[in-house]
């Protein structure tokens, strides 16, 4: 393969990678906001994990049904 072809392929690779990664990033952002809007998840409430971190505090989201009732 001559150097010109390699450079051309590099340029295509570069542009596709840039577009692909930008799409991934914006899709993730869209996913975060959409999940909140639909009510499936409230990401901002997880910030309280650091604030209410005593061992007796009710977990923000827990595994066990007994703890779930506390919320």
């Amino acid at each position: 393969m001559d150097i010109e072809t390699i450079r051309e392929l590099q340029a295509y690779g570069y542009i596709f990678a840039t577009i692909f990664l930008s799409v991934i990033m914006y899709s993730y952002l869209y996913h975060l906001y959409k999940a909140e809007k639909k009510g499936t998840r409230n990401y901002e409430k997880y910030a309280n994990i650091a604030l209410n971190d005593n061992i007796d505090d009710a977990p923000i989201e827990s595994f066990t049904p007994s703890n779930k009732e506390k919320e």
Partner: protein, 488 residues
């Protein structure tokens, strides 16, 4: 539920690592100040025979502060924060308690052996990866133990969602594991070819490949030891100390993935204008510039967390330490990408501007955040208020002055040096010899060393404050919810 009511977090391992942080902080920083003065006054090289020379002490300084001071700071905060954000006590699992203690003792043994080995001049000569293969194996063992502790605690957690700090601690664990293994692939020469002592080795890679792996490792050591775990700390300690939830949790997630993806490709900027392929250099340069985005994403998120609460800066020196740390994170993550631009790097490469850049990040961001985290933990671990607010305030200003003296002198020295190296006369001959640049730089070296000395004095103040908090401060009855209690 009765049993759980009586349950408390177990800070015994966190306390051990706190002592280690202080011990290795003193060792690493004292050596740092000594070698800084050696640069200004070369006769100081001959104080202790071969053991006191710059070349012997420099790896001791870097390894001492990175793998001694900072790593134990990371472990101390992990054994504190991990339990709290997962809402589970280590005391609930005798197995995890044993793992935690073993982790600490193997760590101490490894790092103390490393100090001895480096003093004796036993090393691989790879920057930040100087330890020979027997110690590398010990590092792997202690790292695996830390992993067991992380995932073991996650396995028994009550809080289903992993708080953002946990993501960063896990990334530290995985990132360093991968980097350390690949960069330390080495051939023990005695066992393979009967050459050298039993502990000697050579890298498994050769020439340019070795350089590329080394700087993929070297820069990502900055990423996964100087950055990622410190972000883990600030995402927990700043909100907790100030009582403010993270400004945007979504932004913290986006920044996390951005940082993880981008950082791994930036190491090539250490090899600009060298024999590595041009595309590696360009990629290193471009990814370094893009790195501003996720870095500032976290830093701005922290500053905005203080929105409407800036008054706390006046009242609470711990908040001041952390906000300052975050600001210095912004400065160094802007400065780094600027240095990685090829045309800027042509001037900056190999000059004193580079250690200047490293130190505004490490002293301002890493050091301040680690000390603030330990200050925050102390009243909760020892059930006593912090010994002296006044001392903390003085420490802040003395160290801040030290940092400013350090980086401003290195900016001037570095740019002077770069320009003198490049200067030519009308016929294209170099205008200056190397020794001309050294002579010009000596006053700046003295300034830098004095800046470092001020930071060290501040560190001794921190040590004294912590010691008095542990032993002589007023006891507190209940754990403070947010702002740490401190005596005037």
């Amino acid at each position: 539920m009765q049993a759980r009511d009586a349950l408390n977090y177990d800070y015994s391992v966190a306390k051990c690592f706190t002592y280690a942080t202080i011990l290795f902080g003193i060792i690493g920083m004292v050596i740092g100040v000594v070698i800084a003065y050696q640069m200004a006054f070369p006769e100081l090289n001959y104080l202790a025979d071969e053991y006191g020379t710059f070349s012997r002490l420099r790896p001791l300084h870097t390894s001492g502060v990175i793998f001694g001071f900072l790593l134990s700071g990371i472990f101390a905060t992990w054994y504190y924060v991990g339990q709290r954000v997962l809402k589970v006590s280590m005391a609930e699992s005798p197995f995890l308690m044993i793992v935690g203690r073993l982790h600490f003792w193997i760590y101490m043994l490894t790092i103390l052996s490393a100090v001895v080995a480096l003093f004796l001049g036993i090393g691989t000569s790879k920057e930040y990866a100087e330890l020979e293969w027997p110690l590398d194996i010990a590092v792997v063992v202690l790292w695996v133990l830390w992993g067991i502790s992380i995932f073991g605690l996650i396995g028994i957690r009550r809080e289903k969602t992993l708080y953002i700090s946990m993501w960063y601690y896990i990334a530290t664990f995985l990132g360093v594991a991968m980097l350390y293994l690949f960069n330390n692939m080495e051939v023990p020469t005695y066992f393979v070819a009967g050459m050298g002592k039993w502990y000697h080795s050579v890298s498994m890679y050769a020439g340019t490949n070795d350089a590329m792996v080394q700087w993929w490792y070297g820069h990502n050591a900055v990423a996964f030891i100087f950055t990622v775990p410190i972000i883990a700390m600030i995402y927990y300690f700043l909100p907790k100390e100030s009582g403010q939830p993270v400004f945007s949790y979504k932004l913290s997630l986006l920044s996390f993935w951005g940082l993880m993806f981008v950082y791994l490709w930036a190491g090539g900027h250490h090899l600009l204008y060298s024999t590595v392929p041009d595309w590696v250099q360009t990629m290193g340069s471009i990814f370094s510039v893009i790195l501003i985005l996720p870095s500032w994403g976290s830093a701005i998120n922290m500053l905005l967390t203080m929105k409407g609460q800036w008054g706390q800066l006046k009242e609470n020196p711990l908040v001041k330490f952390m906000v300052f740390a975050s600001t210095f994170y912004m400065l160094s993550t802007l400065e780094g990408p600027i240095q990685a631009i090829k045309s800027v790097n042509a001037l900056a490469h190999f000059t004193d501007w580079i250690p200047g850049h490293v130190h505004d990040g490490t002293l301002g961001w890493v050091g301040f955040m680690t000390m603030a985290a330990l200050f925050h933990m102390a009243p909760r671990m020892y059930k006593r208020e912090l010994y002296s607010k006044k001392l903390m305030e003085s420490q802040f200003w003395i160290q801040t002055t030290g940092i400013v003296m350090y980086f401003s002198s290195m900016w001037i020295a570095g740019i002077t040096q770069g320009m003198m190296w490049r200067a030519t006369d009308q016929f294209g001959n170099l205008a200056y010899s190397f020794i001309d640049t050294v002579t010009v730089l000596i006053p700046y070296y003295a300034l830098r060393a004095t800046g470092g000395l001020l930071y060290l004095i501040g560190f001794f103040m921190f040590t004294y404050n912590m010691y008095k908090t542990m032993t002589a401060s007023k006891a507190i009855e209940s754990e403070p919810q947010n702002a740490s209690p401190m005596a005037a």
